[in-house]
């Protein structure tokens, strides 16, 4: 316990220490790059003529839409149109409790599988992926809601006990709210960050470099386009944190990427990953201000690698967690299916990861589809038949592409 306490202090301390002090204490961190000839602030605060240049309202709005959709997913009186309205919002429609969301012209669906690098010339997969997400919603309404007051069994949708909770699953034991939420982490947040806003195709588009070099701001704004693109990448990770300049102070502020950066970081094998991500965001943004695009690009690669890692760590964690819950004298089937449904979504999200210094994800769409087929193919009823060997095999295959082991991710 004391050790744990010290770890908390260490993490909390890191969040508040400046870059320069970390140089003395940490061997390996993005701050190896701190020996730069420009100023790097202690927190994510950037100004021009006294006014903040940081803005990512659109990202905050979309994360809030996701939160509200998620909180309605397990209300069995909802209709498909009500839920899908939150997914594919149209400006002015009354889809949300929050007025500002209803007035927004943003929607979740329009940014799903919509990155410049992966989908600008891949409308086919884009359409398939959007249909997958919508399919989770429609199947929840069509298959699970009618069986709300039914006990689930192999081939029968319904409810399962998981400790004090009750889980609602389809005939294969899958929980659609988990599939939706965890798939959205990849198809929206991760894809937009790694393959869109941190891409040179977006950062350096058109006259962005020349304008940034000359401090030409967008019309009516205090930021250059390049600064804003970087901030939008930041917003998909930290859009709901209370202090958006120091997001690691309350990491876990949403149910999407932010929460799972926190979870990965809480595993002692990956302690510091949250700080690595934040420091790279901050340094990269400072590099844009300093017009140092090499340092900027190096930070983008660090972010790509680490956010990809978070997805993979959580996929393996839930596969192993599900396996453990199915073992023993009194298996917790509801708990296992809940975990494996989370795993399903994180595996789905692997196709949106990005290997650093590469144009490729860690796993292609075909490979991801094969994993998901494998997960449900041990028998006729999906998770009801899943075998430990299958969960281990998928875990090992995922870990093999990264620099950590299944055991490290499983804790």
């Amino acid at each position: 316990m004391n050790k744990f306490f010290l770890a908390i202090i260490a993490v909390a301390g890191l969040a508040f220490t400046s870059c320069s002090s970390e140089d003395d204490s940490l061997e390996l961190s993005p701050c190896d790059n701190c020996f730069v000839d420009f100023e790097v602030p202690d927190s994510y605060v950037f100004t021009r003529n006294g006014a903040s240049t940081v803005s990512f309202d659109g990202q905050t709005t979309r994360i809030k839409m996701g939160q509200e959709l998620l909180s309605n997913f397990n209300i069995q009186t909802k209709t498909f149109d009500e839920l899908n309205g939150m997914f594919a919002h149209i400006e002015g429609e009354v889809d949300f409790e929050e007025t500002a969301l209803n007035e927004s012209d943003k929607s979740l669906r329009s940014k799903v599988a919509a990155s410049a690098d992966y989908f600008s010339t891949n409308a086919t997969d884009q359409a398939i992926i959007r249909a997958d997400l919508e399919g989770f919603i429609s199947a929840q309404v069509a298959d699970v809601y009618p069986n709300w007051e039914v006990a689930a069994a192999a081939g029968q949708a319904g409810q399962l006990a998981d400790g004090e909770s009750t889980r609602y699953v389809n005939a294969n034991g899958l929980e659609y709210n988990q599939l939706f939420a965890k798939s959205l982490i990849g198809s929206l947040m991760t894809d937009q960050i790694l393959n869109n806003y941190l891409s040179t195709a977006v950062l350096d588009e058109a006259d962005n470099v020349a304008n940034n070099d000359a401090d030409v701001v967008e019309e009516g704004k205090d930021y250059t386009t390049m600064e804003h693109k970087w901030d939008e990448a930041y917003g998909y990770a930290y859009g709901l944190n209370a202090d958006q300049a120091n997001p690691n102070a309350d990491l876990g502020a949403d149910s999407f990427l932010n929460e799972y950066i926190e979870r990965a970081n809480a595993d002692s094998d990956f302690e510091g990953i949250a700080d690595d991500i934040f420091e790279a965001y901050k340094l990269g943004r400072a590099a844009i201000v300093a017009k140092d695009y090499d340092v900027r690009n190096a930070q983008a690669e660090i972010i790509k690698e680490n956010i990809s890692k978070v997805i993979a760590i959580r996929a393996i964690y839930y596969l192993q967690n599900g396996k453990t819950k199915l073992e023993g004298e009194t298996p917790n089937v509801g708990g296992a299916f809940h975990a494996l449904s989370e795993a399903y979504g994180f595996i789905y999200s692997l196709q949106f990861t990005r290997q650093p210094n590469s144009s490729e994800p860690y796993f292609s769409k075909e490979e991801v589809d094969a994993f998901l087929t494998q997960l449900l193919a041990d028998g006729e009823n999906g998770l009801w038949n899943v075998e430990a060997a299958t969960l281990d095999a998928i875990s090992e295959d995922i870990a093999a592409q990264f620099d950590f082991t299944v055991a490290e991710a499983a804790e």
Partner: protein
């Protein structure tokens, strides 16, 4: 969810700080266990044969008595039969406090604890079920509409006084109320029968035979379940949550037996006695003691700051018990005092046993704690 995490985080800090501040504390465990002769199997046999199975047998009898009282009430709805039914309910509820902690094996399989005693009960859901007559009490989503807390509502909470309550059982909806109450009782009786029959037809031998020392051995699992029960259901459920320790504001609605209103401290004391008796290996309904966690600690010669840990734990249980004996019913303590200082002070004494069990005792026994704050989402 976030609030829970926040609270746990703060709790972790507070706990860690408090153990930090007494950094000189030492738990003395003999370096080599070669001199220790303690038979884990003898403890398992004592637990199974002298505590667990007799406690279940007594509970079964009290459940049967409760059903009998209901049948009398059903045949003749009147105030004296209602009083008798309530007395049987209280008797069985107290008896329940002696088996609630054994969430292992057959009980764990059926989710006995959560099926019998989730509170606060969902009175609106119960009203709806009575009205529609359409419900499946085996579903986990309906656990908040059955068990002892549902009976509390049905016997004590339907109206402000006995006349009003009796009116529900003799008016137009008489059949519906009697039927629902009966279904709740039969569900409890049937779950109990399943658990008890599994214990006596096989699980007892499995439990006793699994006498090793590993995370799946009976002792390790029972100790985990015991501490989990103490921390979560006794300390937090029966006191801490209604006191607002975890939420920041008091929640009187969350006391055990809220509608009856005066017995939550009696139920707590019953549960605390059961916990202490189990610790000491005291045979059910007898003063005789057998091999136990206490005798195990003594065999290991476990000292904390030079004092016998088993004696320290018994002292702590006794201190907590005495503090609670001085309290009024929990509901009135919480509703009539702001903050409910006396009850908070008693809670602190209940809490003090947690690190002694969860840190000192398990490290002496080389048992690892397997429960963590669950996923929760």
């Amino acid at each position: 969810m976030k609030k829970v995490i926040g609270a746990l985080f703060i709790m972790t800090l507070v706990w860690a700080c408090s153990s930090d501040s007494t950094a000189e504390e030492e738990v003395m465990i003999p370096e080599e266990n070669e001199d220790v002769s303690f038979e884990r199997s003898a403890m398992l046999i004592n637990w199974a044969d002298n505590i667990i199975i007799p406690s279940y047998a007594a509970f079964t009898a009290d459940m049967d008595g409760l059903v009998n009282s209901f049948n009398t009430f059903k045949a003749d709805v009147n105030e004296s039969n209602l009083d008798a039914l309530r007395a049987s309910w209280l008797n069985a509820y107290k008896s329940w406090q002696h088996v609630e902690m054994f969430e292992i094996g057959p009980a764990e399989t059926v989710g006995f604890q959560l099926n019998m005693n989730i509170y606060p009960t969902d009175n609106e859901k119960i009203d709806g079920f009575v009205t529609t007559g359409s419900y499946d009490l085996s579903l986990s989503s309906n656990r908040s509409a059955k068990g002892f807390p549902a009976l509390d509502y049905l016997l004590n909470g339907l109206g402000d006084n006995d006349t009003d309550i009796l009116a529900f059982y003799s008016g137009n909806d008489q059949e519906a109320y009697l039927q629902y109450t009966e279904d709740v009782l039969l569900d409890m009786q049937s779950l109990t029968a399943t658990v008890v029959s599994d214990w006596t037809n096989g699980y007892r031998d499995t439990f006793v035979a699994n006498d090793g020392a590993s995370s799946t051995a009976s002792v390790d699992r029972m100790v985990n379940d015991y501490i989990f029960y103490y921390e979560k259901y006794l300390r937090a459920g029966k006191m801490g949550i209604p006191l607002g320790v975890f939420s920041g504001s008091t929640l009187p609605r969350n006391v055990e037996a809220y509608y009856e209103g005066t017995i939550s401290n009696d139920l707590f004391l019953e549960a605390l006695t059961a916990v202490q008796d189990f610790f000491n290996g005291k045979h059910f309904n007898s003063s005789e003691e057998g091999e136990s966690l206490a005798s195990y600690l003594d065999a290991l010669n476990t000292l904390k700051n030079g004092e016998d840990l088993s004696a320290l734990l018994n002292d702590q249980f006794n201190t907590a018990e005495n503090m609670i004996l001085d309290l009024s019913a929990f509901r009135s303590e919480i509703e009539n005092n702001n903050p409910p200082t006396s009850m908070l002070l008693a809670y602190d004494e209940v809490q003090k046993a947690v690190p002694m069990l969860k840190v000192d005792m398990v490290s002496a026994m080389s048992i690892s704690i397997d429960f963590v704050d669950a996923d929760g989402d």
